[in-house]
Symmetry: C2
Amino acid sequence: MYRIGIDLGGTNIAVGVVNENYEIVAHHSVPTGASRPAEEVIRDMGDAVEAVLVKAGVSIDQCESMGIGSPGNCDSERGVVARAYNLGWFDVPVCAMLQERFGIPVRLSNDANCAALAETVAGAAVGCENMVLITLGTGVGGGIIIDGKIYAGMRSAGAELGHMLLVLDGEPCTCGRKGCWETYASATALIRQAKKAAADHPESLLAQAEEITGLAVFQAADKGDAVAQAVIDQYCVYVAAGFTDLVNSLAPEMILLGGGISRQGERILAPMREYVMNNCFGQKDGAIPVIKAAALGNEAGIIGAAAL
Amino acid sequence: MYRIGIDLGGTNIAVGVVNENYEIVAHHSVPTGASRPAEEVIRDMGDAVEAVLVKAGVSIDQCESMGIGSPGNCDSERGVVARAYNLGWFDVPVCAMLQERFGIPVRLSNDANCAALAETVAGAAVGCENMVLITLGTGVGGGIIIDGKIYAGMRSAGAELGHMLLVLDGEPCTCGRKGCWETYASATALIRQAKKAAADHPESLLAQAEEITGLAVFQAADKGDAVAQAVIDQYCVYVAAGFTDLVNSLAPEMILLGGGISRQGERILAPMREYVMNNCFGQKDGAIPVIKAAALGNEAGIIGAAAL
């Protein structure tokens, strides 16, 4: 049997058919056109499913289920996208609509949760029962797997891990709170921290970069710029302080790091591991998880949705 | 059938027999004598079990299981107290030793986890699948219930919720980290905050208290002392900021507050609820849990251990 995964994004709808090993056997993508009514977007999602089935040479009868990974707050139990600002969706019963069209079970979860699940079925966390995936991007996304399943709590509203505190009454966050982890540990935050360092140190290579991006900070450090390296060192502390909270609260077997910054690999993972070991409860005798980079990248959305 | 619960403390071993409604039908208590070898303490635990069975008029054959709530880090899977500093126990296989003597299954968990479980079977959280109990005392203790069961993570080392950050590099914590929630939100922290306020405001009633205890702060506020009230207001923010982190990460249906301070009831619970509603992800549309006081007090240890 096969499964269908739909990665619903603000820009594109990516659909895939996966086999029993969670390998994507066919892939199809169409623009979301998120400004349109939800019904039209969902009709296009269905059309994309039909297109990908043709590409895969698989009939819907050979598919046991369909899954959707959506941005925003998704109520998995009811199969409803409760609130997705970048889709303009509020209380959209997407599962029921696709289930009616295709006649197979349709499941839904937040895209960050799907990415975490994908890593456990086909990525860096295969065989791991309890793990957390943290994705560093515009914000800090989180997905929690407990007993091999997505854990999202009441109304699937949990795992907003970027909105745990790092500093009470600290930097203002888009969520309305102050001092959330993501205001220090997102890629956006790294750029803000680097811009401040560049302004404070006009002599640095960092200050001479054409545009300060996350990558530019690492490139300046590569060229021996101490200011850029200090920004990275402090950023690793911010990320790892949040990891330490996850260790002390959830004691997962593994913490995976996703997002573009995770491609920096050991240069950021090694200091993060050291910080966690020195700061978690019990320090080196504590429940130190494996900390490494996520493996699946862009495919995680489809694979995780299919695995729902 | 009955169950036996053992609440192993640094001072006393409290043993109870509970019926199928988790009511304690008999109770027996002996001093722990924690300075002795673990074998002697465990022999006394066994003797206390025999004594309480006599009191209850129940034979061991009528008991389906025995549970132990222990301080420190307990590996529930192996039935071993891994590290309990105030017992001086390290890697003590207490379950195997009692199981050999009594021939019924013996289970083990941390006392904070047992207290949380007790509230779900017989206290303020009956019927609640996902909840967190926070106990304010010398430290801030935590117990997490997910899907009706204790969640403690790898090597049962999780749920050290008092050691999540409130302020990166803030007040030093006994765990070695700086800025842990418990350095701001424990009863110990309240007293420290009140002492500082008293020193800063020698004209306040608080400064005239014979001894500044947690209760003295509330009593001074009762008499209209604005300094004491300001300490309480800020303390509620500290506690509620941690609650907000729990909402954003775990989205529990309920957060219960335990420990002596919880007896202050609505005067602290109401401002905490308001803070959570104004600060959690999604604010008033977020996954606001029920927030109220725990119900079981000292009996929680025995009931929770019996429910393991």
